[in-house]
Amino acid sequence: MSAHQAAPSRSFGLLLHAFGNRSFLIGSAITVLIALVALVSFFWTPYDITHLVVANKMKPPSWAHPFGTDHFGRDILSMIMIGSRNSIAVALVAVGIGMGIGIPIGCWAAARGGWVDETLMRMNDIVFAFPALLSAVMITAIFGPGAINAIIAIGIFNVPVFARVARAGAMSIWPREYVLAARASGKGRAQITIEHILPNIAAILLIQGTIQFALGILAESGLSYVGLGAQPPMPSWGRMLFDSQTRMMIAPYQALFPGFAIVVTVLGLNLLGDGLRDLLDPKLRRER
């Protein structure tokens, strides 16, 4: 959004910084890797997971099955690859819902101020008073378990987060002189918000987006673990961990790899978020 405004020298400087920033490098490498794995899984996985080979069940890791096989003889590596789609899709759409509703609310609150602002922010506080996971469990249990309801449940709790961040960002831009100039030239609040506020808060929203993305993946795995997320036979990392629990005595490795997948993905996104913050938010750069 801010690309057309930045001078070429500035984006080049940013690029140089990016290569010097360890968090950003590691984080984006992991994130790209996970995204690639999810994409590849559409065309190719080491084994076909709809093809059950019972003779192969509960095999420990080997050259043929690097992560071992599960209780149906399915290849765990292939399951994890396909499971990544579910995690990414749920968390990504949930972030989309949060941004799509939260950012307009936050910008509106900042633009209008007064009672509109007060009302919107108090409504935010009310959503915050519900422990998010509890409500997600409530929503998915009442309207039926499944990936779609998990998306909605997680998405709802992203709304106040983005509303808050957008409002705080917009509030700091409104008193600037160039906004005053735009108002003096007769531009309306909506136009100013689109032309001046949004490009200037895009960076902090992007950073928050990666954080919520990571939280969404954690929340999704928790919901599928208790059986309220994606339903079998669709593989999901949380569900795989649930399945592994009863077989912990005989096949402990089954509990390892889906967990690693979650940790690596969340870690990658968090590092990317930290790196972006260092790069894009000069105010916070001195902290490190």
Partner: protein
């Protein structure tokens, strides 16, 4: 100060009222007839009608809402539809598992996180700092239920020193009961501790960069005194905020963690009640949890004002 308190109290009250309407409304639009669920498909229409009127389901929605709210204010949360005992009894019975669990994990996470955060901040830029913050970065990424599974494997399956799950009850003695809570509270505490350690570190760094810290050092105060007496107190505000927010996370976390360890706590109660459509239990427990979040945030707000007098005026 009293105006500040009054405003906070009012906001808390409004939050509770709106929350109660939302909870009631959401459960009102749930498909399915509770009476039918209780009696089964073969119930006669007369029996259904009798049960519906006994459960108060034949009254209008506003009447039921006010009956429910009024009852709760008088300590009557209604009767569970599946357990056929008062909801309040269930809440107390389960609460004596969940509350110690939540307190134990809050204690563990603060006890781990604050010293680590202060340590990292006071040795900023050293290997010790990077190592502890790297560990925190990984801790944030670990789902608590997976950590719980790893703990079960380590301590219950492999070392056999702790029970894998279940709860013997406080009647079995303090130690056996506490033993059953060690792993669950550790699992709940770890991700929270990781977040808290990072917040503590950055709050300390922020404060340590202030002029008055340099002045105190210049006056000849030791590093230790400055750190503990001046910096820590001022760094506590963001730490308190996060602690308050984490309380809500802990409460929600009990739903999953209690399922991992088969602990008969509030989280498991509400989870089972939802799947059994025992809506009166769900409503009661959810309202209780929301109320405790509101109260904790209120306490945090008041503590803010106690720590930082400037905030009393601002609010």
């Amino acid at each position: 100060m009293s105006a500040f308190l009054a405003k906070r109290l009012l906001i808390g009250l409004v939050t509770l009222i709106v929350a109660s309407i939302v909870v009631f409304a959401v459960l009102e639009i749930v498909p399915g007839d509770p009476a039918l669920l209780m009696l089964g498909m073969n119930a006669t229409p007369e029996a259904l009608e009798a049960l519906r009127s006994q459960m108060g389901l034949d009254q209008s929605i506003p009447v039921r809402y006010f009956n429910w709210i009024g009852g709760m204010l008088m300590g009557d949360f209604g009767r569970s539809w599946t357990y056929s005992s008062p909801v309040l009894d269930l809440i107390i019975e389960r609460g004596i598992v969940s509350l110690p669990l939540a307190i134990l994990s809050l204690f563990l996470s603060t006890a781990i996180a604050i010293p680590v955060g202060i340590f990292a901040a006071s040795r900023r830029g050293t290997i010790a700092d990077s190592a502890s913050m790297g560990a925190a970065q990984i801790g944030v990424a670990i789902p608590n239920f997976w950590f719980a599974l790893l703990l079960v494997y380590l301590f219950a399956v492999w070392l056999r020193v702790l029970p894998a799950g279940g709860f013997p009850g406080w009647g079995a003695g303090i130690w056996p009961a506490l033993k059953a809570l060690i792993m669950p509270s550790l699992a709940l505490a770890l991700p929270q501790a990781a977040i808290l350690a990072r917040v503590t570190r950055s709050a300390m760094l922020e404060v340590l960069g202030e002029d008055y810290i340099r002045t105190a050092r210049a006056k000849g105060m030791s590093r230790r005194t400055v750190l503990w007496r001046h910096a820590l107190r001022n760094a506590m505000i963001p730490v308190l905020t996060i602690l308050g927010l984490q309380f809500a996370f802990l409460l929600a976390g009990t739903i999953i963690i209690e399922n991992v360890f088969y602990l008969p706590g509030l989280g498991r109660l509400v989870f089972q009640a939802i799947t059994q459509r025992d809506l009166i239990v769900v409503e009661g427990v959810v309202m209780l949890l929301v109320a405790s979040v509101v109260v904790v945030n209120l306490v945090v707000d008041i503590l803010y004002a106690a720590v930082d007098p400037r905030l009393r005026v601002k609010a």
